[in-house]
Symmetry: C2
């Protein structure tokens, strides 16, 4: 098991916690087909999910051992995980892409949990899911999104270690911003040198890198880079979700190129302060909506197209909970979240600031190195 | 529109071709919710799809203009595309994540096309899709996977240009393998230097990089790298799906570290020859199953856990068609495919070889620089 990201005991603990929740909810088995969840319970990590051709299935009974039902191409890798019961079929196949194997496994259960709620998706073809329900006509499919969401929101000590590692890597890369970014550089070039620096620093991959730059602020926060050259007076923002061992960081940094105008300085300070107010109260028992409100109050505004002021972080770039007025999730020790307030400086001009923290008994611990309290000026 | 990957005429042509097929099939509108398809018809390109929090919708009527129904956070970027009718909601939201807007748009159509067949998935929560069907009870939802698949399989001249660019980038990086990879290097280090080289050469991103290394062959072709050090006699294989402007290459290269044994040399030559046989017959009108069979015959075997000997390539790492015995798709000029035969050398030891080509009237054109006919030996 030397190739694996975690010891077997980690996966046993995850399964036991799940099984206890399934039994409480009178669910006989959980049916999974999405990358994050299959990896969470098995340790099966591969970029091959990028190919939409083949479905991948995992059945977790409320009592007993996991069953992986997967294409033959994945058998060798799955055998390196802790899963013993691996059932495969040659894929692609003209018909029956694993459905017979899957139905044969699920048919013995009366109530089968699936993920169909908020922030979930269905990774198998909808027509195959329809056929599965036909073949399992005696089974009831029940949404258990809440059970899996609740479990995954609280990270184990080993998961937090992974998250701290990748946050440290990105923090060290951002600390070199003054040498990496400069006036006259295109945004595409800035992205490329930053990606390279992250990988040199120890990131496995940079699945998420977005950003913007513009005089005194930027227009949106999800765009790919353009060939526009950084100019004196621009605010440059880079937001990265780099990974190490399959765990994400997700935070950004803002820089003024050459010089900063007063509006930009004020916006930056306001965002920085609002994160301070969140850090001051982020404790077990405090709710996500309270964290949201304290930041919004500090900013004097909750008006932003981003819609929330942070979210969970882990195997995925964004995970539940959401820091937003309607999310009453109470923080617990072990939750890893982003604090991500945003502000409209002027119409079409915004600023975002983000840090990553872990909730602990007592004050939260920063996983990202706290940004400078005043807008840093680089390479003028 | 200077930030966009294609001129508006490209998207107009794509929509017109789709609309003609929809009308032939008596479908009133196509409902899309997946990244590749939304991008294909709009040009909306963002890594933000990595966040599972928000759904993204596109409605393409059989007559008329596209309607994007998206979270506010994406409005600015969508306004840079050719889509004029953009309807947004503040997301995340406690309930109604765009469903009212979506149902309001779809309700006027009798027959609505969706993607529910092979290689598709549902990017919105299953429960939301159930609610959508409730709200659109007068509508019939019909699978039109074949229409979209058929359209996307044949690439435009501008798409082929993008694919040629990224294949050229990866080809040039692979040509530096002798200086990039060497004995004593861990596989993780090899992956990192290769990623960095690809980005330095002009790739925007390297969403897919897998590989393996072992004495005389490797065990599987979808694994992340380990800390195992490359040793004399290893066969090293790297398979990359790098991107530029959102289009993928997908090919691999094999190298012997220090020296190659005869079995490995023979396997390499056999795979190389089998690609030659495919190149010799790949013309418009030839079927995918014929391409598969000619490669299998040359190898004397079609037995591999990979299950197919190539596939389509474009916005996604793998797209239809599949080079496999049951896929009777006839090649057409403009199709971009991979040729990817694989061979079991010994139990648990395999070799794969892959090239990327575009089908033309006449012989196919290689987009990847053809691999050496004999197994290259590097850094011994």
């Amino acid at each position: 098991m030397t190739d694996q990201d975690f010891p077997v005991s980690e996966f046993q603990a995850r399964l036991e916690r799940l099984q206890s929740a399934l039994r409480d909810a009178k669910i006989d088995a959980l049916f999974l087909n999405t990358e994050a969840e299959v990896r969470y319970y098995t340790g099966f990590r591969t970029l091959f999910w990028q190919s939409p051709t083949r479905p991948w299935y995992l059945v977790l009974p409320a009592k007993g051992e996991p069953v992986a039902i997967i294409p033959e191409i994945g058998a060798d890798l799955m055998r390196k995980t802790w899963v013993k019961d691996i059932r495969t079929w040659p894929s692609p196949r003209a018909s029956d892409e694993g459905l017979s194997l899957l139905a044969g496994c699920l048919n013995k259960y009366a109530r089968i949990g699936i993920l169909s709620g908020r922030e979930t998706h269905l990774r198998l073809p909808l027509s195959d899911f329809g056929e599965l329900k036909e073949r399992c006509r005696g089974c009831e499919f029940v949404d258990v999104s809440d059970i899996v969401r609740t479990q995954r929101m609280t990270k184990s000590a080993l998961e937090i270690e992974k998250l701290a590692t990748i946050c440290g890597i990105a923090s060290r890369s951002f600390e070199r911003s003054d040498t990496l970014f400069h006036e006259g550089q295109t945004l595409k070039q800035a992205f490329a040198v930053f990606r390279i620096d992250l990988i040199s620093e120890g990131a496995d991959d940079v699945p998420y890198l977005v950003g913007g730059a513009g005089p005194g602020g930027y227009g949106d926060v999800i765009s790919p880079p353009t060939d526009r050259r950084l100019a004196n007076g621009d605010i440059l923002m880079l937001d990265t979700g780099a990974t190490r061992d399959g765990y994400f960081c997700d935070f950004d940094r803002n820089f003024a190129v050459g010089h900063a105008d007063d509006d930009a300085k004020r916006a930056y300070s306001a965002l920085h302060s609002s994160i301070d107010t969140a850090l001051a109260i982020a404790r077990p028992g405090v709710t996500c909506s309270e964290l949201f409100k304290v930041m919004a109050t500090c900013l004097g505004s909750a008006d932003s197209s981003v819609g929330r002021f942070g979210h969970g972080l882990g195997i995925q770039l964004t995970e539940p909970p959401s820091l937003i007025d309607f999310d009453e999730t109470a923080l617990q020790a072990g939750m890893v979240i982003t604090l991500e307030p945003s502000l409209e400086i002027a119409p079409g001009k915004m600023m975002v600031h983000e840090e990553n923290i872990v909730i602990e008994d007592g004050p939260p611990r920063l996983l990202s190195t706290r940004a400078e309290p005043e807008l840093p000026v680089i390479g003028g």
